[in-house]
């Protein structure tokens, strides 16, 4: 075949293939959002689900998702950051570092349902907490931690070596250098990574089915006593999240408007995750600009 003709043909196949993939992905997004907008209303977003009648909402599930996210980030952010600092600043080339890296890779690639199985055994049964927010948060922390360590390490490594050398040359101690020079410069990268991690936690379901549980007690949003089982803030109550709710109603729900509830819940979930991802890009750039007054970026 003529090489020019082959080139043209190949080019058009690349165009077609890409358009095809973009159409699929566009269809996905469009389907979720268009269907969802019909079922989302203020009532839907704030009222509790019904068990057999139509017209239930997803209010407690939304609260549970955000509260679980909050607990998970409280647990994993400091540990992830410190472990990232260790790998970027202190770790030598030795067996210990190799073990840490292998652990991170193992945790990253382990299916989340296996972490859920582990969480059910340790955090639900062995601790005696039963299905609870805390058990769910710990299970998700196992999934989230390796991701946060990697993000922190990369953000810290991206800081130019000259900054570190200048600080040390001025007589600053290693910790002063990390705290006053390296972490502020790494901040945009860290914030971007944290927000992306938050989006992933928000959508996770497999590890939560039998740790945070698939039910939510009747919550009284004016009850701030965290030891009361009806208080939304009690970390030892069962808590079904939004992603788990979508799975559950699709497999075992009795309400007649399952489809509509699932449509609305999926749209809200996807919108939230998209907002997290867009916010991540925007926040990183904004903070970088504020810190460096670099107007070109």
């Amino acid at each position: 075949m003529n090489v020019r003709l082959a080139d043209r043909l190949a080019t058009s196949i690349f165009w077609l293939g890409t358009v095809f993939v973009l159409l699929i992905l566009g269809f996905l997004l469009g389907y979720i959002l268009l269907h969802g907008f019909n079922s989302i209303s203020w009532h839907f977003l704030t009222s509790p689900p019904e068990t057999i009648r139509a017209g239930g909402g997803i209010g407690p599930q939304i609260f549970n998702s955000f509260y679980l996210l909050f607990l998970t980030m409280i647990i994993t952010t400091p540990i992830g950051l410190m472990a990232g600092i260790y790998l970027a600043e202190y770790a030598g080339r030795n067996r210990i570092t190799e073990a840490i890296r292998l652990s991170i890779e193992t945790l990253t690639s382990l299916p989340s349902i296996v972490v859920g199985l582990f969480g059910l055994l340790i955090f639900v049964n062995k601790t005696g907490w039963g299905y609870s927010l805390m058990a769910g948060a710990l299970a998700i922390s196992v999934i989230n931690l390796p991701f946060l360590v990697r993000i922190s390490e990369e953000a810290i490594r991206d800081v130019p070596g000259e900054l570190r050398e200048a600080s040390l040359a001025l007589g600053a101690s290693q910790w002063q250098t990390i705290w006053r020079v390296i972490l502020p410069s790494a901040l945009p990268g860290l914030i971007t990574g944290w927000i992306i991690a938050a989006g992933r936690v928000f959508g996770e379901a497999a590890a939560l089915l039998y740790t945070a549980g698939m039910s939510s007690p009747i919550l009284n949003f004016s009850n701030f006593d965290i030891t009361s089982p009806a208080s939304p803030l009690n970390p030892f109550r069962p808590a079904e999240t939004l992603a788990v709710h979508i799975w559950k109603i699709n497999s075992e729900s009795l309400v007649p408007d399952v489809r509509q509830v699932a449509d609305g819940a999926s749209a809200f979930l996807v919108l939230t995750v998209l907002v997290f991802n867009i916010a991540a890009r925007w926040a990183g750039r904004y903070i970088h600009r504020r810190l460096t007054s670099d107007l070109n970026n």
Binding site: V3, D7, L9, A10, F14, W15, G17, T18, F20, V21, L22, I24, L25, L28, L29, P78, I79, G80, L81, M82, A83, I85, Y86, E89, A91, I100, L102, S103, I104, E105, L107, S109, L110, P111, I113, V114, V115, G116, L117, L120, L121, P146, V149, S173, W175, I178, R200, F202, G203, A205, A206, L209, I246, W247, N250, R259, S266, V270, L274, N277
Partner: protein
């Protein structure tokens, strides 16, 4: 005082990193010890577990020994994830090459961020779309034993789900190629297609294979999106329209309803052990591919 503070902080950082190792070690310990209990405590032979097709963990009158044959689960996982990768890989390579070599500037700026954004869509949402669009479509157009819940639905959902992963990683590896190599190829009079076919794809081979392995790992470990659309019937499938079950979906379905320490529950841990071993296999392959790629 300052020296003391420095040592303190270093210790805290080290303890945090060690905690990651501790968590991993305890996960592995529990998976291995509970996973092996099926064979050593309950006395099931490894061969029966891996190659058996009958599942009846409680002994009945006509069958004295319990059976936990898991071949249907293992074959289900393998078939679905391999088919998903087969569909996704060519499409992903096309998109990755398009982004780096062919797209006009607006395309580059727009396509890659969009695809990365889509990587964040939670897997239950993929499962939900599968159950509400794909399953009815298959039921109405092809029929089949599972009323639409089938291998076909499973691997199509997965192949879309892993597209963003494979595309992003392959795009990175194509970007990393030195610009001079392309200039050299064009200077020799190659057309763009010849450059792509004979220079770019072979040179980025190790990165592309890594991308495919990552996609395969994601497909193999996915639980809910698959569980929602495959029907979950313990059988060896004979047609692409048959319902099937995978390791992850079996764990999802049974973990809440089995008693800790029972054979059924231990068998779930054995499945987790298989998943763990497969994760290790993927990690080792990616490392080997990386090492081979960097030597060249």
């Amino acid at each position: 005082m300052r020296r003391y503070g420095d040592t303190m902080i270093k210790a805290v950082a080290f303890v945090s990193a060690a905690l990651v190792v501790f968590i991993t070690a305890s996960l592995i310990y529990f998976i291995v010890s509970k996973g092996l209990a099926t064979f050593f405590t309950n006395g099931i032979s490894i061969k029966d577990f891996l190659t058996g097709t009958r599942w009846s963990p409680e002994p009945t009158s006509e069958q004295a020994t319990p059976l936990v044959g898991s071949l249907p689960l293992i074959s289900g996982s393998v078939i679905i994830s391999l088919l998903a990768v087969c569909v996704s890989t060519p499409l992903s390579i096309i998109v990755a090459v398009f982004i780096t070599e062919i797209a006009p500037a607006w395309g580059r700026k727009f396509i890659q961020p969009t695809i990365e954004l889509l990587a964040g869509i939670p897997s239950v949402v993929y499962g939900f779309i599968g159950i509400s669009v794909l399953v009815p479509f298959i039921r109405n157009n092809f029929g089949g034993q599972g009323q639409g819940f089938s291998i076909l639905a499973g691997f199509l959902v997965l192949s879309v789900m892993i597209l963003p992963t494979i595309i992003s990683v392959s795009t990175e590896s194509l970007r990393a190629l030195p610009e001079e190599w392309k200039h050299a190829s064009y200077a020799l009079g190659s057309t763009r297609w010849q450059t792509i076919r004979m220079m770019i794809i072979p040179a980025a081979r190790s990165g592309i294979i890594t991308a495919v392995v990552l996609g395969l790992a994601r497909a193999f470990g996915e639980a809910l999106a698959v569980q929602m659309v495959i029907g979950n019937v313990r059988q060896i499938p004979t047609s692409i329209l048959d319902p099937v079950i995978t390791l992850t979906s079996a764990i999802t379905m049974d973990m809440g309803y089995t008693v800790m320490g029972s054979l059924w529950n231990n068998a779930l841990w054995s499945m987790a052990l298989i998943l763990l071993l497969i994760s290790f296999f993927f990690i080792v392959s990616i490392r080997m591919i990386g090492r081979r790629g960097s030597l060249r």
